[in-house]
Symmetry: C2
Subunit: 367 residues, 2 copies
């Protein structure tokens, strides 16, 4: 179902996107402010387009921010950059876009296509290429199922544009785009994986904007009513394909090690249990990759590992992790599209250099 | 005067270009082999076009290699890359080139446009944008006198292309292109500073290919006749605008410190005099930047500092410097076009972070 996104929806969507970002994707707060500003300046409406409402030959150009989340919180975009990237790619392709779309539904990248929509009047397709957030551009269902990411356009803060074309090699595209992003100061805005409406339906994870909105609403409502936010979250996920939720740990952050290296935020966080000697160790590269309790894997990428504030249920991103925070760590299963052998080859644990086999969270942890 | 370059000229041109490279620009030997191969495969002729023979509205697209000379000697191009860069830029501009041109007359970049010419049939303009070699892309007389370097096209070894557009900001263009070059393994091929025939005549250093050829011939002839190669060099430079030559030092290499950092070969070399306690210290960033004898500046960029083998007069590049080499270090004055305040602001000593004022070599050292 297509619908109009209201300004009042943005805070809920940002909250849900922070959860789907599994610690990464960049804090959606800044993105939300940019969208609100664009809505105030424009006609105040964003159309969310159901993938089934796309024509087969519509041109969809996804837009996004790329960079280390640790930099994103310090280097605020002025808002023209993703539109400049879109326009540069349109010029290269010799055709105007009929819609934009998120490449990932987690973090700030749920907001960037809304910003583009608010500024250009284009609709936003209710789907994405990660079903969560991942740190690298080849880690897209678009790529897994055969859509080339090239040509990719980058828009910089001073009006620079860069077009990268690596043919069908999306990993090489990521490598070069990351190099440019580092040189632009650690954050840049991109347009890539231009595709037809038919390709969206074949390769994208559907209705993830709406899922983010539903999750954000459920978490807020639970808080307002002093209800159980884990239960509310389970309710919001029901029937979405993200069907299993497991509490992995309840405890306090006792250590965070975080470095911005090679254009990524990499590191570890350790949590000590509230009521026992157990410890959970979280490893991340922008996003949370693996959660181990006393050395045993409890949840691993691409399943979602989400850290929520223990009192409020508010998602905490990796760059927001602080000593002393009280948190609940939950694992959430991802849709089957993201767990096929082809998908795991691109964004399973080994793609991140982890010496771990993928095992579904619903089998690793009992309900 | 326009003329046809013969295959037999290439060794002399490479030798002269190594001298004009002032230690950098990349060893022209590999470039020469690529040009010879292309000539064998094609129709065997390269037209060297005098700038005065260009029409005002001809489109000239300079082509070059960029990267650290220390990498260039290990990572041999297959020869398609600069043509791919040229074609990518033509496509972006929507117009075919009428000629190519060197961006620098020193080192391998005297050869890359010849390679493009041999492969495409385009003529090569007998001029360049540095009158020597410099390490960075904004250090061009083209840039000094108002030609934008953007859009710049990069061709990688796997057929990747990257287009960078930073408007009038040529320093930013260099910064981004260097980042991409590092990601491509430290060496890449580029097309940039597309300009009209009229702009070539206004901004380029004229007839530097021919000068390189003349220098290379003079050095070879002196060696064959057991003559004085310094005298021969002075003769070749006469009337070229590079009118003053000074012997700065005669001695042995006693120390070389060289690192490949930030995409450049940076370092120092120390020479001990044959006949006394004096030492010459050479500082380089790809190219030789400043020569000091016992702490006193004897020659500084943009004047040429050239290291020649003491016995043969063969130029030695920075990546070729070895302990124990016996050498003559000479300083050569550059044309007035390269010594104006505008030019010195872009490629004078302070542009390299050196705390030295420019002083012409003919005033620093007596004949």
């Amino acid at each position: 179902m297509s619908y109009t996104l209201e300004r009042e929806d943005l805070a809920d969507l940002a909250r849900g996107a922070a959860l789907l970002g599994t610690g990464g994707g960049g804090d959606p707060y800044i993105g939300r402010l940019l969208v609100e500003q664009a809505l105030r300046e424009g006609d105040g409406k964003i159309t969310v387009l159901d993938p089934s409402d796309l024509r087969d030959d519509d041109l969809v150009i996804p837009t996004a921010q790329m960079g280390a989340p640790t930099v994103v919180v310090e280097k605020i975009p002025h808002g023209d950059e993703p539109v400049a990237a879109l326009r540069a790619l349109e010029e290269r392709l010799g055709r105007r876009a009929d819609a934009t779309m998120p490449i990932e539904c987690g973090g700030i990248n749920s907001m960037i296509p809304l910003l583009v929509a608010a500024r250009t009047g284009l609709p936003v397709v209710d789907a994405d290429g990660m079903g969560r957030a991942f740190p690298e551009l080849q880690m897209e269902t678009f790529s897994v199922y055969g859509v080339p990411g090239s040509p990719l356009a980058i828009g910089g803060e001073n009006g620079e544009t860069v077009i990268i074309d690596t043919g069908a090699d999306n990993k090489r595209m990521e490598w070069l785009a990351r190099g440019v992003t580092i040189r632009l100061g650690g954050v840049a805005h991109i347009a890539e994986y231009a595709m037809s409406g038919a390709e969206v339906r074949r390769t994208a994870v559907p209705n993830t904007l709406t899922l983010g909105l539903r999750i954000g609403r459920a978490l807020r409502t639970a808080r307002e009513r002093h209800g159980d936010f884990i239960e509310a979250l389970a309710g919001a996920l029901e029937g979405s394909g993200y069907d299993n939720i497991r509490v992995l740990f309840r405890g306090k952050v006792v250590d965070v090690e975080r470095r911005t290296v090679g254009g990524f935020a990499r590191g570890h966080a350790t949590f000590a249990a509230f009521d026992g000697p157990e410890r959970l160790e979280l490893t991340f590269q922008n996003e949370n990759l693996v959660a181990r309790v006393d050395g045993e894997v409890r949840c691993v990428v691409p399943d979602l590992i989400c850290v929520l504030e223990a009192e409020t249920g508010e998602p905490i991103t990796t760059e927001g992790l602080r000593y002393g925070q009280r948190a609940v760590v939950v694992g959430i299963s991802t849709p089957e599209l993201m767990r096929t052998p082809e998908a795991l080859a691109v964004f399973g644990p080994r793609a991140f250099g982890l010496d771990v086999e993928f095992e579904p969270v619903e089998r690793l942890v009992s309900p």
